[in-house]
């Protein structure tokens, strides 16, 4: 009897050990309530779609809502790392939250894969071997917009962005590539909803074009008011103000506007075609670039898990770095600072039936790497 119990116990323990070894735990902290929830919902839905398609029951994903607050993101991260013992973390949308969570998480040996935020510090001086950015470095889309402005012959841009770190990065990114003059440069208030004063200044400035970075609701307000003001200078922006979740709320005011993105639903590769169809079928809406970033992040993790066990950190890190997965962006590879080297496209807002969406009209920058890679000593 005693032997039997011991044997049963031994079997149970080894079964436990087996399942513990096979199990990979992923912690996702993202914004699911409050003002910016649309972005987090898209990242989560894209990520979970890829997980569902893989159908692996040895991966567990824990999802928590950070409410766009750095302090709750930090608390959730501590809990995930210390009590839930996650192996991989992902999900954060906003750069200020990423700066609060990522350095501590990677220092504790957890892998962090960013599906959206790409603050310059984490690409440069504070880069880390366990940190990978699957989306872009913050400046990238703005740099492409600056390059596009040169190609389009724009010579006198009026540029505006909110007065916070990512807003300053945005205008810096645009100016890094743009060769023309500046008719004016304005920092608006974070969360500002009325742009009448700025639009009047644009009208009076003699600019030949407008470049703006106003993510979320700020961009919706600006575009509607701009369209209503009668100022008809060409507008250029990064994809964030022209993404699938926002365009329907802007309506016709955005038609024809050029914007820059690393992804669009009409990118012609098999992975993307399958992704767009599957996303539309499951969620009954078109995917946004945030959804594509979530989907790529999940597929990158899956590709690495197929090659290495997450507990073998060096092998797993090498498998991540190799990035051998079918990205919906087509070609995708990591630079030495674990940030993407990728094409950034110029899109135009069009109307398909009742739905406002984008189509790619040109390639803005080819195989573009970020400007901070040289500062990264990994």
């Amino acid at each position: 009897m005693k032997t039997l119990t011991t044997m049963a116990l031994a079997t149970a323990v080894s079964a436990l050990a087996m399942s513990a070894a096979a199990e990979t735990k992923i912690g996702m902290i993202t914004t699911l309530s409050g003002g910016g929830a649309g972005l987090g919902v898209d990242v989560r839905d894209g990520f979970m779609l890829a997980m569902e398609q893989a159908g692996r029951d040895d991966i567990e994903v824990v999802i928590e809502d950070d409410q766009r607050k750095p302090e709750s993101a930090v608390q959730i991260a501590d809990r995930m790392i210390q009590s839930e013992k996650v192996d991989i973390m992902t999900g954060i949308i906003w750069s200020n939250l990423a700066m609060a969570v990522v350095p501590a998480a990677t220092a504790q040996g957890v892998f962090y894969l960013s599906p959206n935020a790409g603050p310059s510090a984490l690409a440069g001086k504070r880069c880390h071997e366990n940190y990978f950015n699957v989306a872009w470095q913050n400046d990238n889309l703005h740099e492409a917009a600056g390059a596009y402005a040169n190609d389009a012959g724009l010579k006198n841009s009026y540029i505006l962005a909110p007065n916070y770190p990512a807003g300053k990065d945005a205008l810096t990114g645009y100016k890094r590539m743009y060769q023309g003059d500046l008719a004016g440069e304005t920092y608006t208030k974070m969360g500002q909803t009325d742009y009448a004063a700025e639009i009047a200044q644009i009208r009076a400035s003699g600019a030949d074009s407008v470049y703006f970075f106003l993510p979320g609701g700020m961009g919706i307000s600006f575009l509607k008011q701009y369209a209503d003001s009668g100022v008809d200078l060409p507008v250029v922006g990064p994809a964030f103000s022209f993404d699938q979740g926002i365009l329907q709320a802007v309506g016709g005011a955005a038609l024809g506007i050029k914007n820059t993105s690393q992804w669009n639903k009409d990118l012609d590769n098999p992975a993307n075609t399958a992704f767009v169809a599957a996303f539309e079928q499951k969620y009954e809406r078109l995917p946004s670039l945030y959804a594509s970033q979530g989907y790529d992040t999940a597929n990158l993790i899956l590709s690495a898990l197929n090659k290495a066990d997450v507990d073998d950190k060096d092998a797993f890190r090498a498998a991540l770095k190799a990035a051998e997965f079918d990205s919906v962006r087509g070609d995708f590879k990591f630079g030495d600072n674990h940030h993407p080297i990728q094409n950034i496209y110029v899109r135009e807002v069009i109307q398909e039936g009742d739905v406002f969406t984008n189509k790619i009209i040109a390639t803005g920058l080819e195989n573009h790497a970020d400007a901070y890679a040289a500062e990264c000593k990994m």
Binding site: L32, S33, G34, G35, A37, G38, V41, N163, K168, E185, T186, Y187, T188, K189, G191, T193, D194, A196, A197, A200, Q201, R203, A204, G216, G217, I220, S221, K224, Q225, D228, S229, G230, G245, I246, Q248, A249, V250, G251, G252, A253
Partner: protein
């Protein structure tokens, strides 16, 4: 810096001020008459905007959308007063703040639950869209002029209601002596529900008017709420006239400060730092204004002696 630009910015400031007045009027009435701090006023603004967006999508009529915003916000306001606020009149301000903060969360997450996380579409009707030419060669959006006009009409109506009607007398009486007016046989609880619904309807109207040129989304009311509190503190709590003057002061200060401060700093600083210092200082300007006014008049410009 041309004269036209300055005039245009003054119009922008007026329009912003009028919109703030619609928010602040309800807030100051509720605070003045019932002594209640209502943080959920911004949620009613959001309710108005969502109702307008839904009705505009259904019927295509902007006028119906505005009516719906008034009705929905008034209904939501009356319901909230009957179910929650009524229990708070005798509590201290901290309890009121806690309960109405809870209402913000309930309204926000409830709205997200029903309408999803993505912003809704509400556009300026075609007959009000585009700019018109004003005397002096100013091109100004017709819709913004309409907002100014609607706001002024509503303000005139409110002044008439408070100064000339029986309900207005009761509201003013309730403000100065709650027990006395109840002793005189006025149904004070009905009056409270009415005032609360009126304030809610004005907030809802503001939400719908502004929703057409901004984004209709969850949480849109809270930034405006903070400014509305600044307005009623500047104007004096409980005073409609104070709310009007305060709203125009805040609207003009905020708009003109945001435009001219960076240019002022540009005279003696390099452009990049001038824009960022100017923008930072401009966003503080209304709070500096509030502090300065409170130094001179601690109960606000038109605040009562109580």
């Amino acid at each position: 810096m041309s004269l036209i630009l300055i005039l245009e910015q003054i119009l922008n400031g007026l329009q912003f001020g009028v919109m703030l007045f619609l928010m602040a009027a309800g807030l100051t009435l509720v605070f003045g008459v019932m002594g209640l701090i209502n943080l959920a006023h911004g949620a009613l603004y959001m309710v108005g905007a969502f109702a307008a967006a839904i009705v505009a999508a259904w019927t295509g009529s902007f006028v119906l959308a505005l009516v719906a915003s008034l009705a929905a916000a008034a209904a939501a306001g009356a319901l909230v007063e009957l179910l929650v606020i009524r229990k708070l009149y005798d509590r201290d301000h901290l309890d009121q703040v806690l309960a109405t903060f809870a209402l913000i969360l309930i309204f926000s997450e409830g709205t997200r639950w029903v309408f999803g996380s993505f912003p809704l579409f509400l556009d300026v009707p075609s007959y009000l869209s585009g700019p018109i030419s004003l005397p002096g060669g100013i091109e100004y959006p017709l819709y913004r002029l309409t907002i100014i006009a609607i706001g002024l009409v509503v303000a005139a109506g409110l002044f008439w209601l408070i100064a000339r009607t029986r309900i207005g007398i009761q509201i003013r009486a309730g403000e100065s002596d709650r027990e006395m007016i109840a002793a005189l046989g006025v149904d004070i609880s009905k009056l409270y529900t009415l005032v609360f619904a009126l304030g809610a309807a004005l907030a809802g109207l503001a939400g719908a008017l502004v929703g057409a040129i901004q984004s209709v989304q969850v949480g849109m009311g809270e930034p405006v709420l903070i400014l509305a509190f600044v307005v009623i503190v500047i104007g004096g709590i409980g005073s409609i006239k104070g709310a009007m003057v305060g709203a125009l002061l805040v609207g003009l200060t905020d708009t003109l400060g945001g435009v001219f401060l960076p240019q002022l700093f540009g005279l003696f600083m390099e452009p990049a730092s001038a824009t960022s210092v100017g923008a930072s200082l401009a966003s503080m300007l209304i709070y500096i204004l509030m502090a300065a006014i409170l130094l001179v008049r601690p109960s606000g410009l038109y605040g009562g002696q109580h």
